[in-house]
Amino acid sequence: MKVAIPGIAGLLARNVARRLLDAGHRVIGIDPRGWPGAPAEIELHAVDIRKRAAEDVFRRHRPDAVIHMATISALLADAEERYRINLGGTRAVFEHCANYGVRQLVFVGRHTYYGAGPDAPLYHTEAEPPQELGAYPELADLVAADLYAANALWRLPDLHTAVLRICYTLGPAGHGTLASFLSARLVPMVLGFDPLFQFLHEDDAADAIVAALSAKLRGVYNVAGPQPLPLSVIAHEARRRTLPLPEAVLALLVGRAGLPRLSRGALAHIKYPIVVDASLFRRETGFQHRFDELTTVHTFADAVPPGGRSSPVPALG
């Protein structure tokens, strides 16, 4: 199968690409960031998915399937740019899929779609709407991209679309929202709150995305692995110290004094859990995680000792 991967330069996307190659698929990467040292078999196009050159990749190669991973959650870009990438990019991917005969599309979204709040249930099912969006406007573009992707299910009936809402990933690469949050020596917490965090080993996450493609999933699916753990337990297992501060104090201090940067809205994500029910995905793909929750934290902690790497900007998105 010929598989195009917009956003291939991301670490998770690279792992997916390698697995697809190993499984005998042909992989076409689309990402303006490039991928130095990429396997020679991967055909890379360093173009922006929203630009005409990207459309030409679809026109010339006519991929059978697309795994769309060109969305960003980090607050590395301003709101307008994020909106352009997440929503404008997603729209372009779907249009190219529809116009150039792509049969299958996997949209890799995030479990933070559901939002965190005091009245939100543990174990969200796919039928639930996003909540608490008003408290965290930085997530709005990702939520909009998710909903836009999901409406392809009726808008483009010939395109086999799977929308994945995948939980945080963690592992030796030290990459991703949760890893960034845990990278410093001190893990900030809101005093009196200790939410559950749900995460998947980065290798398991790549396997899950490939499993979605192999199973030709159609629909919206939560993706998760082992049971969630309280943030304090994760920090302890990762050999970090927690720093519980009253919410008002924490809001002033994040991004300073060695603490990771967080937007105001993201504070809700370290007060209340976002945990998803992924039983439907497991049932339909047969996916089983290989790394349990403690092993996953330990592989991260062994590769990224406390304060061992500089902290990029996490958005808990």
Binding site: P118, D119, P121, L122, Y123, V190, L191, G192, F193, D194, L196, Q227, P228, L229, P230, V233, E237, K271, Y272, P273, D292, E293, L294
Partner: protein, 258 residues
Amino acid sequence: MTDDIAARVDRLELPFDARGVDDYGVSKWHLTVLFRALSFLYRNYFNVRCSGIDHVPPRGRVMLVGNHSGGIALDAAMVIASCFLEMDPPRLAQAMADRFINRLPFASTWTSRCGQLTGLPEHAQRLLESDRLLLVFPEGARGTAKLWKDRLSLVAFGTGFMRLALRTRSPIVPFAFLGGGDAIPTVTNLYKAGKLLGLPYLPVTPWLLPLPLPVSLSVHYGEPVRLEGTGGEDDDTIQRHVAEVKERIAQLIERGRR
């Protein structure tokens, strides 16, 4: 006593991981601390009498349904303690916490770590489907707000619990809790002052604060009620089932008073 509590927590048949946390975030460490405190209250401070605990099935999904008694969650705490201390093997009863609790620092963490999740229909259904022991007070907040003079009465029952029991095919074990109204004799409830503190209301006792007296409390469990249905029945049918359970609880209250 202390070791006894830790040993009982070890014997809880819950899917704890290697760090003593289950898939709902229930933590053995927090349970041990909680049950040490509840055990003192149950055995020494209140001297709770318990009858009919054998009616609570040792395993599988069960819904404990009973009356509210006392202006704060004393009733829930002692019922949870009775299932932990009197059953063999012990079971963790999981109540549905009032929504305001999850907004309060520390209370949010402790209720979650002790398995007392926010009172949402999704939580109740999921716990039953996980074969847990669910504790339900169908009188809701109206029940905890009962004044001393109404302590032995039952206010209107909600119907959601009945539809859930039918849908999940869960047996209902009715129970009566007695004495909470004497431990915390509410003379009035301050609703505005409560709101300022983030609470639904503030119960006022003759000594102002809702601190419980060391009176004798009792909990009486009745035989399980197993009803056939889908949960999709019309309101009249559901109301009849609810009335049946309410009557069983009223009988248990009467029997408990003798």
